[in-house]
């Protein structure tokens, strides 16, 4: 499943996991929420909306993938003409198209996708736009400084929010530029260190990975997911939602033990 060098890289990263897990533990001790924090039934504030924006790409068999391999095959089972109704079967790797990374993707003792509480799947959405920088440099990363700049403008990140990186990369989904020989934007580990001290429940990127394409150690995956938070990869249309004020609904898979899976992501504005 892994491209050359990938297994070795994740093993090197694994040996450094202690540091990140410690960071996460410190954050938890400091009172930051994780998915397992007991939740109130109701949100802190009533939420309002008057339109919906689809943040999901259509997935087709050759949708670009991290490992550059086809991850979806579709088998026709019945047809309207022959059988009276159309049905199909998917053979699909969980991390395909617009999809979730559940905490269990990188941690055996954290939530699989089906076990994430629904209250954590409906979250205030903070969109951080780094598209100008990404247009000039495909290796751009969303940093702690970007989060602080967002907060200077919009106030503190909302409680239990999702922080989304808008790098403008969604527009490349149908071209080679989307994978771009593994040069695409992602979160910088220092942004994750900051977010672990906040009440963010999830992060989202409009690229193929929470870590930027050139990451060799997957620090973002190894610090964020084992802290009991989720990630969404390959979201679309972040340019159509405001940088603050929307609510995102994560239509993640509820298949037992899922490490993640295709996810319908809808913003309510």
């Amino acid at each position: 499943m892994c491209v050359p060098g990938c297994h070795e890289a994740v093993h090197r990263a694994l040996s450094r996991r202690g540091f990140f897990l410690k960071t996460a533990a410190v954050a938890a001790a400091a009172g930051a929420a994780s998915l397992s924090t007991p939740l109130p039934r109701a949100f802190a504030q009533e939420r309002k909306f008057s339109k919906a924006v689809d943040l999901t790409h259509t997935t087709w068999p050759e949708f670009p993938t991290f490992f550059n391999k086809v991850q979806l095959e579709i088998e026709n089972l019945t047809t309207l003409e022959k059988d009276g109704f159309n049905t199909r079967k998917w053979h699909i790797m969980e991390h395909t198209g617009t999809h979730m990374d559940a905490p269990y993707h990188f941690s055996n003792d954290k939530e699989s996708a089906d076990r994430i509480p629904v209250e954590s799947l409906v979250a205030p959405l903070a969109v951080i736009n780094i598209s100008d920088r990404a247009a000039k440099d495909p290796d751009a990363q969303l940093t702690a400084e970007d989060i602080k700049a967002w907060e200077s403008k919009n106030g503190a990140l909302p409680d239990r929010c999702c922080v989304a990186m808008n790098s403008g990369w969604d527009q490349h989904v149908k071209t080679e530029k989307f994978r771009n020989d593994m040069h695409f934007p992602g979160f910088h580990p220092d942004a994750i260190e900051l977010l672990l001290t906040r009440n963010a429940v999830g992060i989202a990127v409009d690229t193929l990975s929470l870590d930027y394409g050139q990451s060799k150690d997957f620090k973002v995956h190894y610090s964020w997911l084992p802290a009991g938070r989720w990630g969404i990869e390959a979201v679309a249309n972040l340019g159509q939602v405001p940088e603050t004020g929307a609510t995102v609904v994560i239509g993640g898979p509820k298949i037992e033990g899922a490490t993640g899976g295709p996810t319908r992501v809808i913003a309510l504005v």
Copy 2:
């Protein structure tokens, strides 16, 4: 794929499709919305909520199915111990677990799941409770009279709503009683005839089929889906939401050409 007698039944039903399509055409001509009706960007009214309720069952490989065959196999691809991260592959029939029936499931010229406009996936939720009747009679059906009774109590069905049948059947999902040798509740065709004259975009059931288990002609499927509306089967927890006032978000699959698929259904209350 089909149980004995099923193909024959759907073919008989197909030969009667003319009637139902005509009904749908009349409804459309009368001005009722279908999914393809041009939509305003914003909802008619601002919507509010303060909590989320998950209307989705967890799906496991032996989740009960209409055809009584296993429809989900899960293949482990990588593990945290060996590879540094957990990933899996699903081999899944589209109509498994809590899932969508897209219009294309029963009509070649109507929307596949990926083509349903997002505005139709966020809908006011009307819950009609027939659980007392269903407890006494597993062949109970939600009728036009039930809809009229709901409207007498709650006012006209909201514009572009989803009408959900709460038969209490979700509680049986882990037992034989869920499929119950094809004795379970569903919508009655006369309810669909009425709904086709209203602005409902979708219907939902807490059982294995939009039609009741004993249906021999699948009239509900053949009249509702070709009219460009969607259905959701095997929803859960309808008893936890009010009969009016909630919004349902349909986290349906956005896989190209999908006849339906596993769907995260979340009510905002």
